[in-house]
């Protein structure tokens, strides 16, 4: 079994310890970098090229979303998981748009953390219903056209992707969606990956512009 190389950005020392301890006890994980703030992470993480980057949304210096926006393009092989709280729906969505692949709501139990990381590595793509609703809204809006940058490439959701999202928003689990649409759960995962990719493409430039200001 290949080892999953983990890097983490978390400003609270106790949580940093607790999380790195969780990974250090597992044989299939290696914690290659732990950072207390965004700038150090932006400087160091591209060199480390971890498989998974766990990123706290609230950082003292640079926002987690901006970190993602800067790091994601440099790390095509890295999957980024945001650590967040419930009320940061907008932030989560922005982070996903900026290049993150999933998020975990604090407090995260060790088992849940490990499970989520393994799932993402295996191609699973979780998405909450609330986020799914925002994704649908996002794709229904016309792409932003600003006079000072070139028009963003217009990316639309495929029919199946739209169906999957619609059901997800209504509360259907992946399994229920599979039953409803008569497709495999793994196929749903593929759709979700595509949805994420399109989300990245469509929103990244906008987000980068926004955070540059």
């Amino acid at each position: 079994m290949s080892v999953i190389r983990i890097a983490m950005v978390e400003d609270d020392a106790r949580l940093r310890c607790a999380i790195s301890e969780v990974f250090s006890k597992e044989k299939d994980f290696e914690c290659v970098g732990v950072f207390a703030n965004g700038q150090t992470a932006i400087d160091e993480v591209p060199r480390l090229k971890p498989d998974v980057l766990i990123m706290d949304v609230n950082l003292p210096d640079i926002s987690g979303v901006e970190c993602v926006a800067q790091l994601a393009p440099q790390l095509p092989g890295t999957q980024i998981i945001m650590l967040t709280v419930f009320q940061d729906t907008d932030t989560i969505f922005n982070a996903l748009g900026a290049g993150a692949h999933g998020y975990l709501v604090k407090p995260v139990m060790p088992a849940k953390l490990l499970e989520a990381v393994r799932e993402i590595r295996a191609g699973g793509v979780p998405m909450s219903r609330t986020i799914a609703r925002k994704v649908i809204d996002f794709f229904q809006q016309p792409p932003p056209r600003q006079h000072d940058i070139a028009p963003v490439e217009d990316v639309v959701l495929g029919k199946r992707e739209q169906q999957v999202l619609d059901l997800l928003v209504q509360g259907y689990s992946y399994k229920e969606i599979g039953n409803e649409l008569d497709i495999k759960v793994s196929t749903i995962g593929t759709h979700m990956q595509r949805i994420y990719s399109k989300l990245h493409v469509r929103s990244r430039r906008e987000i980068i512009e926004r955070y540059k200001r």
Binding site: A18, E21, F86, V105, P110, G171
Partner: protein, 579 residues
């Protein structure tokens, strides 16, 4: 001055009339003071001649008296100006300053005056035409008893009175009648005037009358044209200082005895005035515009065109003026408006201050909540993770009770993290919108329902309106809905839960429905396990919302929470104003 008389004819040379013409008036007239209610309202240093005008004087209606003082300028010229005044708008004609000239009867004993009787001449006689030649003459008749010791009487016409007097007097037909007790007829003395024109000539008059005075040319002889040309005595005083008179020569004084009854008659035409200084007094003038004029006239009353004019405005008392009430009304309105504005401004200031205070309070609440969240949230998260790690490490080597207690620590820590999260969410005004509320609610609901293993369906209205849902109501509503979801998960034995969100600008309605066992709402109060319903009801009452519960045994349960958003829209407006 020369009088020519042609003895051979009955023509009177009138050369003297030409030479009697007045010299050119020098200087002018001046209003020196105006006194309003005896206080000086204005001092006019000098003025004015040849039609100049002074700037208007405004006097309040409340003033009782106005006195104008004026004089000739320069004072005591010769020829002197005869000053007349007139308040245009009040006087219909010119007024002379009061001045008296006199007719004197001197009773004498051996040439010494022992008694003097005076008759005054004042102003203008009726029929005065401006010259002694053409004026109508007034017949005067005075009677007097001859006093003790008198042996003769003398008549004199004098301009001497007030020195400042100027004027012209024509004297004709002076005669004296003496009635003595025991005489059948009175004795008549014609005194040079005679009865017929043949007896009239200047020499006759000069033989009866002598001219006296401080200068010689005031007493002159003149000619009267009516009924026929004949000489008369003239006093032509154009000198403010000097005087002149005509009096009977000593040779022609009339012998009398005490007790005689004396009748003195004369015909006279005169125009008498003063060269000033003088004053004119007016009382209680009505509001309006007037012009006070002082003019220089020739002694005979002929205008010279030299005058001084002072416009006067009597200002109506405030209360008498229409615009006063208008202004008062306007001031009243303005005052009321200012007061209202000040009150409103004060209210706004108080409002702003209150809002600033609330904002500051809110900021402080958020700061406290943030600190709680960051410090406690992270610490509790660490406790939860570490206790879970401990449990997983040693679950095989401790008793099941110990393992449960470790898990309980972990559970409690997690619940506390959620509780802190909820509090921070509730107090953060950034979450005061319906959209944020719904997002938070669905995030928590799906997390909870996923954990509880209960299938669910969300039916959330698209396009949530941008309406404010403030902190307190938001938190109550959230807690109530959470309670409903927990109840369904714990008690309903349902396999599907619906969460429906409907919202317009007026109301937000959230329905939680399950297909579980249901219950009889009528038995609710007796059932101790349904405290949650009471909690939900209380929370909705707190936020002035509605709570509807529907359930039947075996038919599932449906609860609907409705809150009014109308007031919150106003709140949104206030908030935006503040920013």
């Amino acid at each position: 001055m020369k009088t020519t008389w042609s003895p051979g004819g009955r023509r009177y040379a009138l050369i003297m009339l030409a030479s009697l013409g007045w010299g050119k008036l020098r200087g002018g007239v001046v209003i020196t003071d105006v006194l309003v209610d005896n206080k000086a309202a204005a001092h006019m240093a000098i003025q004015e001649s040849e039609g100049g005008a002074l700037s208007p004087l405004r006097v309040q209606e409340s003033a009782h008296s106005i006195v104008f003082r004026f004089t000739e300028s320069p004072f005591r010229n010769r020829p002197a100006a005869r000053l007349r005044y007139r308040l245009e708008g009040y006087d219909s004609s010119w007024h002379d300053l009061p001045l008296k000239m006199r007719v004197l009867l001197h009773f004498q004993t051996s040439g010494q005056i022992i008694f003097q009787q005076e008759y005054f001449l004042e102003g203008e006689t009726a029929g005065w035409s401006g010259s002694v030649e053409t004026s109508e003459y007034l017949a005067c008749r005075k009677e007097i008893e001859v006093p003790e010791r008198a042996d003769s009487v003398k008549i004199a016409f004098v301009t001497h009175g007030d020195n400042v007097g100027v004027g012209v007097i024509g004297i004709d037909a002076v005669r004296l009648a003496v009635e003595r007790h025991g005489d059948a007829r009175p004795t008549i003395y014609d005194l040079g005037f005679g009865q017929g024109m043949d007896t009239h000539n200047p020499h006759d008059l000069r033989s009866y009358w002598m001219s006296e005075g401080s200068v010689i040319d005031i007493a002159q002889l003149g000619v009267r044209r009516s009924p026929l040309l004949h000489p008369i005595l003239v006093l032509r005083d154009d000198d403010a200082i000097n005087y002149g008179n005509w009096s009977l020569k000593p040779a022609h004084v009339v012998p009398v005895m005490p007790g005689d009854w004396l009748t003195v008659e004369w015909r006279i035409a005169h125009s008498i005035g003063s060269s000033g200084p003088g004053e004119a007094r007016y009382a209680d003038l009505k509001p309006g515009t007037y012009t006070f004029r002082v003019a220089a006239f020739r002694p005979n009353g002929e205008a010279t065109g030299v005058e001084c004019a002072l416009p006067i405005t009597i200002v109506p008392a405030l209360y008498r003026r229409g615009e006063f009430w208008l202004v008062l009304l306007a001031l009243g309105i303005a005052g009321a408006a200012l007061l209202a504005r000040a009150t409103e401004a004060a209210r706004v200031r108080r409002c702003v201050a209150a809002m600033k205070y609330e904002q500051a309070l809110e900021c402080e609440r958020i700061r406290i909540a943030r600190d709680l969240h960051d410090e406690m949230g992270a610490g509790l998260s660490a406790i939860a993770m570490q206790s879970d790690s401990i449990y997983r490490e040693c679950c095989n080597c401790v008793s099941p009770e110990t393992g449960q207690r470790i898990q309980s620590v972990c559970q409690t820590a997690m619940e506390l993290v959620r509780a802190v999260d909820e509090i921070v969410w509730a107090v953060n005004p950034a979450n005061d919108t319906v959209e944020r509320f719904v997002n938070y609610l669905t995030q928590c609901a799906e997390h909870y329902l996923d954990m509880a293993g209960l299938r669910f369906r969300f039916d959330v209205q698209r396009e949530l309106p941008d309406v404010i849902l403030a902190g307190a109501m938001r938190h109550s509503l959230f807690m109530a809905v959470k309670e409903a979801i927990c109840n369904a998960a714990k008690h309903a034995k349902a396999d599907l839960l619906w969460l429906r969100v409907r919202v317009n600008t007026v109301e937000l309605a959230i329905t939680v429905e399950d297909n579980g066992v249901g219950f009889d709402p009528g038995c609710l109060t007796k059932d101790g396990t349904r405290n949650g319903v009471a909690n939900m009801r209380r929370r909705m009452e707190e936020s002035a919302g509605r709570f509807e519960l529907w359930s039947e045994p075996g038919q599932g349960t449906r609860v609907t929470f409705t809150v009014s958003l109308a007031q919150e829209i106003t709140g949104a407006a206030d908030r935006s104003t503040l920013q």
